[in-house]
């Protein structure tokens, strides 16, 4: 049951987006977010939405996959649209009903807001769809490397992320086992009110934590045995390399940002 949770939503493929340098992809995602929020009018936003659609088509990500990441934000989109609709009461009223006034401005603002949120989620999801978790952590480590100067433990953070990703499936397996073991002892995990259910989790979490600590201990020894001594003096097998195509991609996204700003100013 717990195994169905997908971690790291990587969608294997060979498209340009898959092959871009993960560092460039992260920068591009960041620029894209800035552009989305900079776009204050509809044309700018339409450009953003258009880019997202092209990118998805390019990476050949199935719509079903995208829907999975959009599903959790649908309520958020609906609530914000409804609030915008009802509380933005200035401008020419389209119709009035009881205390509710729907204006054209309200409608347009609600649409803009929804498109913006959807583009935001879809655009950032694209990063994890087209990049393996390991490439992502490598990219984070390298992009944040300058922060080592101010004593931020960048390498340690990246290592923690890697280990967390490595152990999530193991711990999920273990949770399953413990749940079954507790059920076999008569634990009731599925009925009762919320308080009772939360309480029923305690006998699962305690053994899980104990075992996780034991694992951590063993892993630390195994890492030490393999000469681990932090990021200092460490080399990598696979180096990230910026290629010409990455440069073009970077220029493209900057051009988009510039375009959006221009549209804001001149239209």
């Amino acid at each position: 049951m717990l195994k169905d949770i997908t971690i790291g939503q990587y969608y294997p493929g060979k498209s340009i987006l898959h092959r871009l340098d993960p560092r460039m992809k992260m920068i591009m995602t960041f620029v894209f977010i800035v552009a989305l929020f900079a776009a204050s009018n509809k044309i700018g936003l339409a450009v953003g939405a258009f880019i997202v659609i092209i990118a998805y088509a390019c990476a050949k990500i199935p719509l079903k996959f995208l829907m999975k990441s959009l599903k959790p934000i649908i309520p958020l989109v609906l609530i914000t649209s409804v609030l915008n609709l009802f509380f933005l009461t200035e401008g020419n009223a389209l119709f009035r009903f009881w205390i509710i006034t729907v204006t054209t401005e309200g409608i347009s603002f609600a649409v803009v807001m929804s498109v913006r949120i959807i583009c935001l989620i879809a655009g950032t999801s694209l990063l994890t769809y087209t990049t393996t978790p390991i490439a992502l952590t490598d990219a984070i480590e390298q992009l944040l490397a300058p922060l080592k100067k101010i004593k931020l433990p960048v390498h340690e953070l990246a290592m923690m992320m890697t280990i967390a990703m490595r152990f999530i499936p193991t711990l999920i397996d273990e949770t399953d086992k413990i749940m079954n073991a507790q059920k076999a002892r008569g634990a009731d995990l599925e009925t009762g009110g919320p308080v009772k259910r939360v309480k029923a989790l305690v006998p699962i979490l305690i053994p899980l934590f104990v075992s996780a600590f034991r694992r951590a201990d063993e892993l630390a020894i195994a890492m030490e045995c393999r000469c681990y001594q932090g990021g200092e003096g460490r080399t990598r097998m696979n180096h990230l390399k910026m290629k010409l195509i990455d440069l073009w991609a970077g220029l493209f996204i900057l051009a988009c940002l510039a375009g959006v700003v221009c549209i804001n100013i001149f239209l």
Binding site: G8, T132, P133, I134, T162, I163, M165, R166, P169, T170, R215, E218, L219, I221, A222, M223, E224, C225, R226, C227, Y228, Q229, G233, R234, T235, R236, M237, N238, H239
Partner: protein, 304 residues
């Protein structure tokens, strides 16, 4: 100092949690005066019941633990010398019981590359070592998968590859097969054989399985922190009563021959495998056909 000994301990004594003990009742030594020399290129198995100190000894071989008194030398480096820690870790690789808790990365080849990366080796050389290590444990085709998708035996082989990629002179394995099914166990043992053939690596194998111990060139039996038997597996297993008295078993074939001999048969004792044992018994009956009546009865009695 002797050149040939890759690992050497001199009157090694050790206790856990020193300083926390009550003054009137000091802890017993977990390792109580161990002096051994392990030769370069040899295959040494260590037997002993639970809590006899096998893992504790293993952890002294690459300075995870340091002796309370006595000395441990790895390639003539004193493990207490902190400035040489890196050289020690590099010379002696460790494989542990639970393969799950030894793998670090989410991609197999990245995991095998972990140790060489820590050692600051250049990326081309790492690539070569990783491919080589994965091939020698037969996991090369899986290099781009995630460890989560592997069986226990395969995970343990990846863990071994991760050590091989360090190119150590010696591998210490602490019950590497005890969490595996018979097939996984065969895979890992096969890998050990390959490594010895290919790299001439020294292997110290801690185990609970008699047939694994019988594969070694030399067998150490531990009890209560001491080494009580040391020699070729065949010689060691002749001390059946002593081995049984500390709660261990000898291989079934050795035991059978021993019991038959006690009943008055006169069989060869240089036997470890079941096949050899069957041969020896067949040989005996062929030789002693006329008198086989009463001996046959003895044989039946033992079998019961």
């Amino acid at each position: 100092m002797q050149e040939s000994a890759i690992l050497k301990t001199e009157d090694l004594k050790f206790r856990y949690n020193r300083g926390e003990e009550p003054a009137d009742a000091p802890w017993k030594f977990v390792l109580d005066g161990i002096s051994i020399e392990i030769e370069r290129g040899s295959f040494v198995a260590v037997l002993g019941h639970n809590g006899s100190g096998k893992s504790t000894l293993a952890k002294h071989f690459n300075a995870i633990l340091l002796p309370e008194s006595g000395k441990v030398y790895v390639e003539d480096i004193d493990t207490a010398d902190e400035s040489r820690l890196f050289d020690i870790r590099r010379a002696v690789g460790m494989v542990f019981q639970n393969p799950d808790n030894q793998l670090v990365a989410t991609v197999i080849e990245e995991d095998v590359a972990f140790a060489p990366e820590n050692m600051g080796i250049e990326s081309k050389e790492i690539r070569q070592r990783v491919d080589d290590a994965l091939k020698s444990v037969g996991m090369y085709e899986y290099r781009e998968q995630s460890p989560a998708q592997l069986s226990g035996g395969q995970k343990q082989r990846v863990a071994i590859a991760g050590i091989i990629a360090m190119r150590p002179d010696c591998i210490v394995m602490d019950e590497p097969t005890s969490m595996l099914d018979p097939r996984g166990r065969r895979e890992v043992l096969g890998t050990i054989e390959t490594l010895r053939g290919r790299y001439g690596i020294t292997v110290v194998l801690i185990t609970h399985y008699m047939n694994e111990a019988a594969m070694a060139d030399r067998l150490l039996v531990m009890n209560e922190g001491k080494i009580i038997l040391d020699g070729k597996p065949l010689e060691v297993f002749q001390n059946i009563d002593l081995i049984k008295s500390i709660g261990l078993d000898v291989p079934q074939s050795v035991e059978l021959i021993h019991k038959l001999n006690r009943e008055g048969l006169n069989l060869r004792t240089d036997i470890l495998s079941a096949d050899d044992c069957a041969d020896a018994i067949a040989e005996y009956f062929l030789k002693n056909r006329p008198a086989s009546g009463c001996k046959g009865a003895a044989y039946m009695r033992v079998l019961k």
